[in-house]
Symmetry: C2
Subunit: 204 residues, 2 copies
């Protein structure tokens, strides 16, 4: 249900094509929503039909047009209305945790599990840091465009809220890294104990 607002939000910083959106949302890097182009193009159509965005042709090559979309006043109003509502939280679904608690018959797979977790969130943390850093240095094109071309009264808040959001996500990733590290420390001890127990049983 948030895809439409992710699109409206993106376009609220300036016009863009479906392809632009797909690049932003496909990877999900530096962004808070993900979607494939196969979901984006139909949604752009719906938003256009609803009058929340407008579609116009733009030159892509010599005899080839692309379509740019711009947000309308109605779209801006709907985005603001949505942003001002209290957040709602989706039901928790965490397959990593499920796998973890049902590994109690195969502790041998725990190291793989925890190391993959560690690596995943290290990378996420690093990419989030890079993105935040580029925003703070003014080299993030889209955010800088929003700051430069939006109403001056908004500029400070634009950056501050991104900092809040990204530093929060960075802290989340750091927490996962620390969690996995302490779990791996425990696992070292656990496996050491098991080795000693087996050695004690069969000395020599």
């Amino acid at each position: 249900m948030s895809l439409r607002y992710a699109i409206l939000g993106y376009l609220s910083s300036g016009p863009g094509t479906g392809y632009d959106l797909a690049r932003q949302l496909d990877t999900g890097l530096g962004w808070f929503w993900t979607a494939r182009h196969s979901q984006i193009y139909p949604e752009l159509k719906k938003l256009t039909e609803g009058g929340l965005i407008r579609r116009h042709s733009a030159v892509a090559g010599e005899n080839f047009d692309k379509f740019e979309y711009s947000i309308t006043e109605a779209g801006l109003a709907e985005l603001r209305e949505w942003a001002g509502q209290a957040p709602s939280y989706p039901p928790n679904r965490d397959s990593e945790r499920l796998q973890l608690i049902f590994s109690d018959e195969q502790p041998s797979s725990l190291r793989l599990h925890l190391e993959a977790h560690l690596e995943h969130f290290r990378q996420r943390r690093d990419r989030l840091r890079e993105t935040l850093s580029s925003m703070q240095q003014g080299t993030h094109p889209r955010v800088q465009k929003r700051i430069d071309e939006g109403p001056p009264s908004r500029a400070d808040l634009t950056l501050k809220l991104r900092e809040l959001a990204y530093s929060g996500d960075i802290a989340r990733a750091e927490l996962e890294v620390a969690w996995a590290q302490s779990a791996l420390d425990w696992l070292d001890e656990y496996e050491q104990d098991n080795v000693e127990r087996l050695a004690g049983r069969q000395p020599g």
Copy 2:
């Protein structure tokens, strides 16, 4: 795709009805997966057809039978195989963050947003603490059943992995609480500054 494993995992601690599963998964409380009964009953049928669980009648009232499901050897093998794989992480989708970064034109809604966030994760933290606590005290029926009736070699690990999982989720909730609190502190200052700025402009 994890629903089948959530079900297999639940049944790996002992037999249960579709209704039992629905109660566990409907609220998602103290659990890592959520589903409605409308999704559970068809999935139980599929799993039965695949030979991963078995269905048998059990007495519910005088002239009324309910259906109990038990995991089969094939089901246990599939559960173990899945649990041993490296975790994979779904693409990030976070409507709360989207709402936050697009509130830069309506700072007036930020307090509502942050207070709702704070309250949501305070409650989640408290419920997770209660669940963990009941497991550690041996009063969590389902987990205690798994510990008591499973192979003794598994018992320590069953509890330890639940502790890892739940304490990790508790730490996540605590992080969100701390994040929201520091954001609210910033907001207090921000609004104070604005009041002073307005007062400075129109003194008296």
